[in-house]
Amino acid sequence: MAMNYNAKDEVDGGPPGAPGGAAKNRRPDNTAFKQQRLPAWQPILTAGTVLPTFFIIGLIFIPIGIGIFVTSNNIREIEIDYTGTEPSSPCNKCLSPDVTPCICTINFTLEQSFEGNVFMYYGLSNFYQNHRRYVKSRDDSQLNGDPSALLNPSKECEPYRRNEDKPIAPCGAIANSMFNDTLELFLISNDSAPYAIPLKKKGIAWWTDKNVKFRNPPGGENLEERFKGTTKPVNWLKPVYLLDSEKDNNGFINEDFIVWMRTAALPTFRKLYRLIERTEDLHPTLPAGRYYLNITYNYPVHSFDGRKRMILSTISWMGGKNPFLGIAYITIGSISFLLGVVLLVINHKYRNSGNTADITI
């Protein structure tokens, strides 16, 4: 309505009977919508609805919290830091880049046996997998086996896009920084030689990642052929087609690689390394006793104050150990219940003061 004058007004505004003043029915429709009389639910926060809600939340949350808490407490978990920054640590020698390969051994004892499937993780701290430049430094087309992206990776991969004029496969900072320590676990028994715990390396990645998101480039039988014309990431010791001996766990679909490529949300994280499957016999998967961890130390983290850990954990319906959730549920449930009581008291007092008479007429 920027203009004061509107030609339409000149037409419609004329007196009835004047030429142009067509008599049309301008009466508004009598519909519920136009008259703003749509049937509606008008909720209001009354004591009758609010107070029970608080009590019910309390009554539901507290048992859930207790359930979670108990479950979480029943989970066995052991964490071994093998960064080696302390001089006493067996891995201290590996801090120097000269020692290659560097293998160190850490002894530890399981006080209680681990039943059921046991999961072996490596944990990193102060490692910023969630940094913006890090997160974007990958080419999902290449990882999905797109031949053109294989030879011409996305610009996002810079500065790990090309090396010596050859495209890097897999390109990018994420792939380049892949965790490459090797961990082996041995059970020390008194009577015989140390028993190497069988570590399963397949089944540690999401199904969708392994089967949809990551694909090797198309081509002949030989994986090396398919990656022809590419070079390995700068930091890697061997090219991508030599990550594993098994054909369905090699190249881009190597599960260790896939797990690494699923970047962590927080600078302290753990990633699944190996599965220790439940044994068929009645023995616990990892009986209580003395173990040692054999580490091929390749992955330097001390330069940026990072930490490396190995974690063994059992699991429940809700995953690994998670004390926070249980405590949070119990706390919130209690607060809700308390709040319900407080509100009830206030409401009760208020009602007695007689003011509600005005309202409830």
Partner: protein, 1211 residues
């Protein structure tokens, strides 16, 4: 169309030669084609885009878009900004395009109207747009004038023609235009075709009543004036045809020159919003700086060492520079605190509210078939904050219909309506009106109820006959008789029309007049009187007379005029009759009727001859002709015989008193600004219950000098302090002198103290807290002084302390000045309502202008923001639509800021855990769609449809309007609460998942806390929390709200799964990296436990706070809502029981006690009780509480427990 847009240098003078297109063409005058549209198909896109990018918000987002194209900075994909931006631009463009389409359509309609143009000696039909300057066109009766024309000749003698100028200046009475004598003979086409005069005149301008030019023809010069012009927009009336020469066409016409751009009005919420947006920008910059510093420190401390795995970008050489870049990156990702969709959503909501106003059946006037119209779509919520209403009187409060209501003839009063029992009947229960069927010439629309008057006519009472004879002779009405017996009267003033119509129905039918005669059908026989002289009405004389000679040859002077004037000019023998008549006059005046006194005088032949001679001489006198004539008139109009008096009802518009009462209860102050005289204005003030007899005092300021006015104002101010006691019957029409006498003693002292107090307390008004009800009546002269710089504050203070203010005899400019004054000092929202051209200035000045459509022209409507056809719709516009609009807009804004802070601030917290790298928490698609898809519709639905209490309740409890006036629902405090709530939510939104995810694993042992799962979890809980919150905020869940809220949630999950699907990933692996994430993440019980926990923690405190507020400190609207709920549950019997039990002891007495006719408004007595109760517990605010308690005490003692409850209803 292209012709319209041509630009020309400013004209010095205009030359137009008739019938010579070639000559005129070289001046390149504008054609008669009108263009109000802004675009055409080709220019639409560039022009519209250019306009849109002039808006700061759009430019800002464009700037963001450019930032995002820099790879080092880009923290988000380009589409996260461009999609909303394009959407917003598109919506605006579509709206502009539709508007323009309609403008094109109406332009075309006007441009394609047909007119008859004289071309090459023949009349040809031409479209308006093809009419050129210098053309001669023919107009016929009732046609619109196509351009500004010089009248050449017409069908009437002497080249006269009649026009109606309603569209130009709002006046409905007809005006005469005359052709100059030389051209008036050019009656037929052949002569006109040869006419080759040339007009040289002023360049186009916007002065409607001025024109100067010269016609050169046959080597003669003829001066031209406005009297010879027909302006575009006028309608030809009572003239068969006329010819005119086009002088100004199209955009040069005075009508178009007058239609300047209107001032763009903004609402206070708009201004507040802009301030807040600026604050948010500041806040944004602060966050950016904090995070940038964080980034610099992090890169310095950690990032440099982490370069093994994540080297810096090539361009980045220092931590400092990295921090600088990250500042811009964070500006990009945090920009959603000022969402691009805010402005467009606000527009959409206002548009919706405007449609509701247009659609409102209850604001549709059946009689005039005009619906209410929101002509501006940007002011709706301001309607909920109005504190001052400035109203015109004529046509706004009154219908401008005069009805002959009562009369006093020879000391006998007629016109009271009695019912069967002989009691004076009240309005609405009148018996059948009397039957005028004996008189074939009677006007069917005329109604009269007192049969005794007709009887008196029928039995031939000579006084009665003389009375009506006077009415049928003494006037300046023109009659028109289209068919035999179908009489139409054209009266200059509606009063006269009413009187002549009354005489007509009682058998004295004014049939026709010539300059020398008047023909009247007296009781069926035609009698022609010789009209000897008309002594016309003017403002000083306040009377008019005619001198006629009847067929018998007797000369008689008939006079009618104002009582104050006429009663002094009566023959002394009338004393007794005068006394009775004066009683009747007082009685009529008390009922708010306009009175006229009628008198006659017989003149003998000689005297008349001699007088006529003197009159002729006076009229020929060169100097001071007016004065001489006046004294001649004065002489003959003396020693008259009193006939009686008439009382005319200035009919109020329907529902005016009720509306005013209701608006007053809603704490809205109503000022009447009228051009009418003081008596009429005060009368109307009483009849529409603005002024009541219960008022403590009505101050009348009529001083002519500055000193007088100051004195009067001070005495008013002073006395208000001195006299807090009620003096129940103060007569408002008490002469000024007496008032002064009464007060003079007090005035001196108190005026002084008042002045001191005013100085010490400046604008913190002492006066407003004064108890008692006062009214102020001020007239134009005094107002002129009161509006001077040194007195305006004093005037304002006094006026604002009064319950009612009436300014009479004010000019249109003064109306605007008064509005401006209140606007300037009061910081209150003002609304001006009027119907005529004289109200345009005030309508444009006030925050909101309302035009009454349908009566006098459309000037006011054109200038207004809202228009409807009856004053009573104002209550609905303000109390229902305005209140809802305000409520909805406030709720909308609160929620909108809340949801965006909750959404955006998560990035801030995440910054501390991702090396301040401007990594987003969410998927980029979520960021793109959050504001425009996931959360837009529910809040829009709330903004458009929400209602706290039903419409009837907002009428019943006018106090519900108060939060808007006090600006309680959305202000800086509320804004900070929303922001705080948003930040609280964002903290939980980030830290609860953080706490849960940090060390957790999925139920298949794999990592839970991968970035993508974290993003999905936070996004999902955010969407659920804000949906819960909108659910809590929505007070009125229509099917649409359900659909949008549940739909938004469903759409979120649908899009989530679609975006994470294999199909999209296979096509664009680099764009849809989250493949498989939704199904993997949302299958985890831990994730759901986290979402539930987050939701409960975010919502629980809100519910608790709201519940507490509802319980401990409820708003009136909460109470009304609650009452409604309870009432629904309770059975009727309970209510009846209660009703008897409760006395009215707690009612706040002032509210209803003086309202007559309020019962019509509120159908059941129960509601009344409720509302007063509710009122009593809510009006007591800190500032005015002592007044309240005083009033309550007063009403307690006044009303006995038994009858107290019902008393006020009866009034």
């Amino acid at each position: 169309m292209a012709l319209c847009a041509k630009k020309r240098p400013p004209e010095e003078e205009r030359r137009a030669r008739a019938n010579d297109r070639e000559y005129n063409e070289k001046f390149q005058y504008a054609s008669n084609c009108i263009k109000t549209s802004k675009y055409n198909i080709l220019t639409f896109l560039p022009v519209n885009l250019f306009e849109q990018f002039q808006e700061v918000a759009n430019t800002y987002f464009l700037f963001l878009l450019i930032l995002q194209l820099i790879p080092q900075i880009s923290s988000l994909s380009w589409f996260t900004t461009i999609v909303p931006l394009v959407l917003v631009l598109t919506i605006t463009a579509v709206k502009d395009a539709t508007d323009d389409y309609f403008r094109h359509k109406s332009d075309n309609q006007v441009n394609n109207r047909q007119s008859q143009v004289l071309i090459n000696g023949t009349l040809q039909q031409e479209q308006w747009m093809n009419v050129c300057v210098g053309d001669i066109i023919k107009l016929e009766n009732n046609q619109f004038v196509a351009a500004d024309l010089l009248l050449l000749s017409s069908s009437e003698p002497h080249g006269l023609c009649y026009i109606e100028t309603a569209e130009l200046d709002g006046e409905t009475n007809m005006k005469v235009r005359q052709a100059i004598p030389v051209t008036s003979e050019l009656g037929d086409i052949s002569k006109l075709a040869k006419f080759d005069g040339e007009v040289i005149c002023e360049p186009p301008n916007n002065k409607l009543d001025k024109f100067s030019g010269t016609l050169y023809w046959k080597e003669n010069k003829f001066p031209l004036s406005n009297q010879n012009m027909l302006l575009r927009g006028c309608v030809l009336r009572n003239t068969e045809w006329c010819f005119g020469l086009v002088i100004f066409a199209g955009p040069d016409t005075k009508l178009m020159q007058n239609s300047g751009r209107t001032k763009f009005k903004r609402t206070s919420i708009d201004r507040l919003m802009n301030t807040l947006v600026l604050w948010i920008f500041g806040f944004l910059a602060c966050m950016g700086v904090i995070l940038a510093i964080g980034n610099a420190i992090w890169e310095h401390e950690v990032g440099t060492h982490f370069q093994v795995y994540l080297p810096w970008d090539e361009a980045v050489d220092s931590a400092f520079f990295s921090g600088f870049l990250s500042f811009w990156s964070y500006i990009i990702i945090l920009n959603t605190v000022v969402p691009i969709s805010l402005y467009v959503s606000v527009e959409v909501i206002r548009l919706g509210h405007s449609y509701f106003i247009n659609w409102d059946k209850k604001m549709f006037c059946m009689k005039k078939r005009t619906p209410a119209e929101a002509r501006t779509t940007t002011l709706n919520e301001e309607l909920g904050q109005v504190e001052y209403i400035f109203s015109d009187k004529t046509g706004t409060l009154t219908q401008n219909i005069m009805v002959f209501n009562k009369c006093s003839i020879n000391g006998h009063s007629y016109g009271d309506v009695f019912d069967v029992l002989g009691q004076k009947a009240e309005l609405g229960e009148r018996p059948e009106p009397i039957d005028f069927s004996f008189n074939p010439l009677a006007d069917k629309k005329f109604l009269f109820w007192d049969p005794s008057l007709l009887e008196s006519v029928k039995i031939g009472n000579p006084h009665t006959h003389e009375f009506f004879r006077l009415l049928s002779l003494c006037h300046t009405v023109m009659s028109e008789e289209k068919n035999e017996g179908e009489l139409y009267y054209k009266a200059q003033s509606p009063d006269e029309g009413a009187l002549v119509t009354a005489a007509r129905n009682f058998g004295f039918v004014f049939r026709s007049r010539t300059p020398k005669t008047i023909t009247v059908h007296e009781m069926g026989t035609a009698i022609t009187y010789q009209l000897l002289a008309i002594l016309d009405f003017n403002n000083i004389r306040k009377r008019m007379s005619v001198i006629v000679r009847n067929p018998e040859g007797k000369i008689r002077l008939y006079c009618k005029g104002a009582d104050t004037i006429l009663l002094d000019r009566l023959h002394h023998s009338n004393q007794e009759l005068l006394n009775t008549t004066t009683d009747h006059l007082n009685e009529y005046a008390g009922e708010g009727l306009r009175t006229l006194v009628l008198a006659y005088k017989d003149l003998d032949e000689e005297y008349y001859e001699e007088w006529a001679e003197r009159r002729l001489r006076a009229s020929l006198a060169q100097d001071s002709r007016e004065d001489r004539l006046a004294s001649v008139y004065e002489e003959v109009e003396s020693d008259m015989m009193l006939l009686g008096a008439t009382a005319i009802e200035d009919k109020l518009q329907q529902g005016v008193p009720e509306t005013i009462a209701l608006l007053t209860l809603a704490n809205i102050k109503i000022w009447v600004l009228t051009g009418d005289k003081q008596e009429t204005a005060v009368n109307i003030g009483y009849s529409c219950k603005m002024l009541t007899d219960d008022m403590t005092e009505v101050f009348i300021v009529t001083g002519h000098t500055v000193l007088e006015v100051r004195e009067e104002l001070r005495s008013a101010g002073g006395r208000r302090e001195a006299l807090p006691v009620r003096s129940p019957h103060s007569c408002p029409e008490r002469p000024k002198a007496r008032e002064k006498m009464m007060d003079s003693s007090r005035t001196v002292g108190n005026g002084f103290t008042y002045q001191e107090k005013l100085c010490s307390s400046r604008l913190t008004s002492v006066l407003e807290a004064v108890a008692g009800e006062y009214a102020l009546v001020i007239n134009g002269h005094s107002l002129a002084h009161a509006l001077e710089a040194d007195m305006e504050l004093e005037f304002l203070e006094t006026a604002c302390a009064c319950k009612a203010v009436i300014c009479c005899r004010v000019t249109p400019l003064q109306k605007a000045q008064v509005v401006e004054l209140v606007k300037k000092y009061k910081k209150a929202v003002t609304l001006a309502i009027g119907d005529g051209a004289n109200d345009v200035s005030m309508i444009k000045t006030a925050h909101i202008g309302v035009g009454i459509s349908g009566q006098e022209g459309i000037q006011a409507v054109l200038a207004s923001d809202y228009s409807f056809s009856q004053f009573k719709f104002l209550q609905r516009l303000l109390l229902v639509h305005g209140r809802w609009s305000y409520l909805r807009m406030c709720k909308f804004l609160c929620y909108f800021f809340y949801k965006n802070f909750a959404f955006t601030m998560v990035h801030f917290w995440f910054g501390f855990f991702c090396g301040f790298s401007a990594q987003t928490v969410y998927d980029q698609y979520f960021i793109t769609l959050y504001n425009i898809v996931y959360t837009s519709l529910p809040v829009l639905a709330m903004g458009v449809f929400d209602q706290d209490v039903p419409e009837q309740r907002s009428m019943e409890y006018p106090k519900l309007y108060e939060p808007g006036q006090l600006n309680l629902l959305f202000n800086k405090r509320e804004f900070f609460i929303c922001i705080a709530q948003g930040i609280y939510t964002s903290v939980l939104m980030f830290f609860i998942p953080y706490g849960v995810f940090a060390e957790a694993t999925r139920d298949d042992g794999t990592q839970l806390a991968d970035y993508q799962s974290f993003a999905v979890t936070v996004a999902t809980s955010l969407v659920i929390v804000v949906s819960m919150q909108i659910g809590l905020d929505t007070g009125y869940w229509t099917a649409i709200n359900h659909f949008f809220i549940w739909g938004s949630l469903a759409v979120y999950f649908a899009i989530l799964f679609a975006m994470h699907s294999k199909g999209l990933f296979d096509m664009f692996p680099n764009q849809f990296r989250f493949v498989g994430n939704a199904q993997n993440t949302l299958a985890q019980p831990t994730v759901w436990l986290t979402i539930v926990l987050t939701t409960v923690v975010c919502i629980m405190p809100v519910v608790a706070f709201r519940f507490l507020k509802l319980n401990l400190k409820p708003d009136l609207s909460d109470t009304v809502r609650y009452t409604q709920l309870v009432r629904k549950k309770q059975k009727a019997q309970h209510r009846c029981m209660r009703r008897v039990g409760r006395t009215g002891s707690r009612r706040s007495g002032y509210a209803f006690s003086h309202q007559e006719g309020f019962g019509e408004l509120i159908m059941s007595g129960k509601n009344m009780r409720l509302s007063s109760l509710a009122l009593s517990s809510f009006t007591a605010r800190s500032s005015s509480s002592w007044i309240e308690s005083l009033r309550r005490k007063k009403s307690d003692s006044a009303s006995s427990p038994s009858g107290g409850a019902d008393k006020p209803l009866k009034g």
